[in-house]
């Protein structure tokens, strides 16, 4: 039972993982495709509804009938052989061609998603990383010093903040920091005229994204990361070898780093990888509340307008992202925990 793996095993592992990578993407894409067939939304009827009923506009009924037919053709929604359309769909998906976005015809859906991506990535990437780091640090400290007052206070605070529903937390933050004490703006992406990219513009964007970021970080850092890190830390601390290290007189910083931290990392890096992958689907609720122009807001608009092309684009992009991060994580596992054998 040697702990060293042979080159052959390594290659075999990488190859298997790669096959699985492709297979999982394929299966989930198919799942979504089938699911979409059952969506009771109709992009064409939604557009006609917006024109006529939603604002009460006056339209000649005969032209509306014509328009309906034109739209069906334009959007390519008029039936066809199911198997053929599925194969066609698969071909297009792997070239990232999702067809035109109905809510912004004729811009390709993929391009639309890409244009929104920088906003979401900026917001979520930073807040995810900060939340993860902060949560684990705090959890570690709270777990290590579990009998101290401040650790107990931290734990109590976490228990109280975490279950507050996200929407309410966001509203409270807005009320506090955008209204009563107006430090942050009420919402939006930016409020400065972007003639060119200057420091002012960048600062303005950051200023606008601080409140949504805060609303994500506070429940995040004090939430799941903190609690599971703390639980794991406590568990590791009760292990015999940790006790032995303490008895031996090793400095606590050493124990923290070499023993506790490493043991926490295994499950927590999984969480990080998945969260990072999830960045691409955007935080829908956050973006809607703060009118933040990211991918989540796009997905929201797309669902409710029946724009299945755009929604498909968002979903599939996200699937690719998460699948890739999981794949990379699997390859990196042994570096974090040398005890795991490649199987």
């Amino acid at each position: 039972m040697s702990l060293r793996t042979s080159k052959k095993d390594l290659i075999e592992y990488v190859v298997t993982r790669t096959i699985f990578y492709i297979a999982t993407i394929f299966t989930s894409v198919t799942l979504i495709y089938v699911l979409f067939k059952f969506m009771p939304v109709d992009a064409v009827e939604n557009i006609i509804f917006q024109l006529t009923s939603a604002v009460g506009g006056v339209y000649d009924p005969e032209s509306v009938m014509e328009l309906r037919r034109n739209l069906y053709e334009m959007f390519g929604l008029s039936g066809g052989n199911p198997i053929e359309s599925y194969i066609l769909f698969l071909q297009r998906v792997f070239t990232f061609n999702f067809g035109p976005a109905f809510i912004s015809f004729p811009t390709p859906a993929f391009q639309l998603v890409l244009s929104r991506l920088p906003w979401t990535i900026g917001l979520l990437l930073t807040s995810t990383i900060i939340t993860w780091t902060l949560g684990n640090l705090l959890g570690l400290i709270a777990g290590y010093f579990q009998n101290r007052k401040f650790a107990k206070v931290l734990e109590a605070v976490a228990i109280i903040i975490y279950p507050i529903p996200y929407y309410v937390m966001a509203l409270i933050l807005i009320l506090l920091f955008a209204f009563l004490i107006p430090i942050f703006p009420l919402g939006g992406g930016m409020s400065i005229i972007p003639e060119k990219i200057t420091l002012d513009v960048i600062l303005n964007i950051i200023w606008h994204s601080l409140l949504p970021a805060l609303s994500l970080m506070i429940p995040g850092a004090l939430g799941w990361s903190f609690i599971s890190a703390r639980t794991l830390a406590i568990e590791t601390l009760s292990k015999d070898y940790t006790r032995y290290a303490w008895i031996r007189g090793l400095p606590s910083r050493h124990i923290l780093r070499r023993y506790v931290l490493k043991n926490i990392l295994v499950p927590q890096t999984t969480v990080l990888a998945l969260s990072l992958g999830g960045v691409f689907s955007g935080a829908v609720l956050t973006e809607v509340i703060f009118a933040y122009p990211g991918v989540g807001m796009l997905a929201y608009r797309a669902t409710f307008s029946g724009d299945l092309n755009t929604l498909m684009a968002v979903l599939i992009l996200s699937i690719f992202a998460v699948a890739t991060s999981v794949f990379l994580l699997d390859l990196l596992y042994p570096l974090i925990d040398p005890r795991i054998k490649h199987r």
Binding site: N46, S53, V58, L67, S104, F105, G188, S305
Partner: protein
């Protein structure tokens, strides 16, 4: 060692505290609006972007359908080229880029448009008939344009007889052809494109950015995130030269702050000058928090009761048992209307304007349709006191029993086949909350009557699909939208020839009932009557309405009150009823341009380039659509009578409001002082506590 870490963190906290005090001194009014540097708040008019976040804010090609609305970014209010507008207060057209009314040939197959001489695009190019012809021809050629359907159906050809006359040949006679080029409700899809810009471009993918404007403002900048649009005044506008009109605000900002409560917060802080509507609860927040707020009236009640669509309940007449007329009428009489009416009473006393018919009860519509039909409607079951259908559960019971319905042992209604009767009302979720509220209220009424009712709220994409495919029993729908005195475009959808198998809707078009042929022929006659023959149109419309009332395919309640709030802190000159009633406060409709032309700064905030008073009054041209003399006389007599009464009351009211304004300002100032001092005290307290804590910790060492 650890203690040192605590000290460090406490020091950082202390350093962060002064940040709080810095913000106190910033004038909250300009803190958060995206203005160019150096522009004071007093130069900017802030309007609500009612649509929300624009997915691609640099896409101004609204000819292709599916794009966001044209009324959220200011395009239709400040930039687009329209030939005619309808004045919402009178229902009469305003000639804008058209020089006068259209001229139809006797067989209504040829029509001439006369273009105003002297109008030009903001880059100096004259606006001519060639632009109009180009727009029509592009629509005919481009299948992806929304207007292609209309062009394909009606237009044979179009040509410019000279620079200012357009001659259009129609495929079939259509006396209402020009309505498509008129802004009636909200906007108009036949805005004219500048030929010299669009020629040679691909009409589907061309983005038209920045859009060449013919209105009083030019697009200055756009939020890359799609939430706001900033427009800058055009100093050499054609209407300034020809009509003496120039708007006062130097900039207009259309901005989307977020959900209702954010808008309410913004308005309370004077960061939003006018908006489309709020739920009454949010409106309450603004009314209480901002003493400068006015609405449709200058004093409470503020709500605008004439939104273009009458909300209510629609029956899917393709489904059993809603295809039985007695059932629909029985369900109407089972409703105690007072409950529903009272539920919409606003905190400021706003009440909805009741209508039993699918048309909006404007004062001019009231005189033409409601009053004269009163007797017949009473016969059909109208209660003359409430002007709605009477609450008569016994009669409803009779009607139901006459078609085989029975009451079960538990008192609940059973269908003739013995099954319990369950109704599912489909309502909107996340938009049109007021319609959803109507759904719940109606459900309560029917439940009390003994029917099992469920309300299902679905979001926009599903809501529209369900209605179109006829996949619901009953829905909170609003097919009754109207503005014009000529009800043809508003009622013609009732005719059976407009049945579309792809989208049967509630099936009214294929619904068969004894007077179906009569209804169809009446509508066809209306369609053939020219718009100038108002008498005949009114007479025919009355007959159609009576047949409609007999059949009751929808239960119409009222247009839900719209809290179109306007803030008089920075700007005034808003249209108010009845003293300054030149337009309705429709900031999301294209007609809002005329409101912006009348605004002036109040002086409460510093201005720089805002004009102290706007230009001359609105062009008072003779109404081109002739309304019979008696009607004009009656309407003017009515308004003069009201003005007489009102003027005396107004004097008293102005004095009172002046006093309350002063009181409110004083209150506000005191409030600001107290908040300021409370926060300062709190900060001081926190600093003291932290210092003490520091000392204690240091000592422990």
């Amino acid at each position: 060692m650890k203690k040192r870490r605590y000290l460090v963190s406490i020091v950082i906290l202390l350093l962060a505290l002064p940040m709080l005090s810095v913000k106190h001194n910033i004038n909250p009014v300009s803190a958060q609006l995206p203005l160019p540097p150096g522009v004071p708040r007093g130069d900017v008019l802030v309007v609500e972007n009612h649509w929300g976040t624009y997915i691609d804010p640099t896409d101004f090609n609204f000819k292709v359908p599916g794009k966001p609305a044209t009324g959220g970014n200011g395009f239709q209010q400040l930039c687009a080229a329209f030939l005619w507008y309808i004045n919402t207060t009178t229902g009469k057209p305003i000639n804008w880029l058209a020089a006068g009314p259209p001229e139809y040939s006797d067989d209504f197959k040829t029509v001439k448009f006369y273009i105003r001489k002297g109008a030009y695009w903001n880059d100096g190019t004259p606006f001519t008939a060639h632009d109009v012809v180009f727009t029509i021809e592009t629509a005919l050629k481009t299948e992806e344009w929304g207007t292609h359907a209309f062009a394909e159906t009606w237009i044979e050809s179009a040509r410019a007889l000279d620079d200012y006359t357009v001659e259009i040949h129609l495929k079939k006679p259509y006396p209402r052809f020009h309505y498509a080029f008129t802004v009636i409700i909200y906007g108009c899809s036949w805005w004219i494109v500048p030929k010299h810009i669009w020629e040679g471009k691909d009409p589907v993918s061309f983005k038209f950015y920045p859009p060449l404007s013919i209105g009083p403002y030019n697009l200055k900048s756009v939020d890359p995130a799609g939430n706001w649009f900033l427009w800058e005044r055009e100093e050499n506008w054609w209407a300034t030269k020809l009509l003496g009109l120039k708007p006062s605000p130097k900039y207009v900002l259309y901005i989307h702050q977020g959900p209702d409560e954010k808008k309410a917060l913004a308005m309370t802080r004077h960061e939003l000058d006018c908006l489309r509507t709020l739920l009454p609860e949010a409106a309450e927040m603004v009314i209480k928090g901002n003493p400068y707020i006015i609405g449709w009236r200058r004093t409470a009640p503020f709500a605008w009761p004439y939104d273009a669509c009458v909300k209510g309940i629609g029956f899917n007449v393709m489904r059993y048992p809603y295809n039985i007329t007695e059932v629909r009428r029985a369900l109407t009489f089972a409703i105690n209307f007072t409950n529903i009416y009272e539920a919409f009473r606003g905190v400021d006393g706003s009440l909805p304007s009741v209508t039993p018919l699918p048309i909006v009860p404007y004062p001019f519509a009231w005189k033409a349709y409601f009053e004269p039909l009163k007797d017949e409607l009473v016969e059909l079951g109208l209660d003359p006191k409430t002007w709605w259908w009477k609450y008569d559960p016994e009669y409803a019971e009779e009607l139901l029993k006459s078609v085989g319905f029975k009451r079960g042992a538990d008192g609940k209604w059973l269908l003739p086949n013995g099954e319990p009767w369950k109704i599912v009302i489909t309502g909107p979720s996340g938009f049109e909350m007021e319609s959803a509220r109507l759904g719940f209220l109606t459900a309560e009424e029917w439940r009390r009557f003994g029917i099992d009712v469920e309300v299902e709220l679905v979001e926009a994409g599903v809501f529209s699909a369900r209605n179109a495919k006829g996949e619901e029993d009953v829905g909170t729908r609003w097919p009754g939208c109207s503005l014009l005195l000529d009800l043809t475009p508003h009622l013609q959808w009732l005719c059976s020839k407009y049945y579309d198998p792809l989208a049967p809707g509630h099936g009214w078009n294929i619904f068969d009932f004894p007077r179906r042929e009569e209804l169809d022929s009446l509508i066809e006659e209306m369609e053939m009557t020219p718009t100038t023959d108002t008498d005949k149109l009114i007479e025919l419309a009355r007959k159609v309405l009576l047949i409609w009332a007999e059949q009751m395919p929808n239960i119409c309640y009222f247009p839900t009150p719209f809290y179109t709030l306007q803030d008089t802190y920075v700007w005034d000159g808003w249209p108010t009823y009845p003293d300054n009633y030149y337009m309705d406060p429709v900031s999301w409709w294209a007609q809002h341009m005329f409101v912006i032309l009348k605004l002036y700064p109040t002086g409460n905030v510093p201005t720089k380039e805002a004009l102290p008073r706007p230009g001359v009054e609105l062009p008072e041209e003779k109404p081109p659509v002739t309304v019979p003399e008696e009607l004009t006389e009656a309407i003017s007599k009515l308004s003069s009578d009201m003005t007489d009464v009102k003027s005396s009351i107004d004097e008293v009211t102005t004095k009172v409001s002046e006093l309350s304004d002063t009181v409110a300002t004083l209150e506000r100032k005191v409030g600001e002082l107290t908040t300021l001092s409370t926060i300062t005290y709190a900060e001081a307290a926190i600093i003291v506590i932290l210092i003490i804590g520091l000392v204690v910790v240091a000592r422990r060492k």
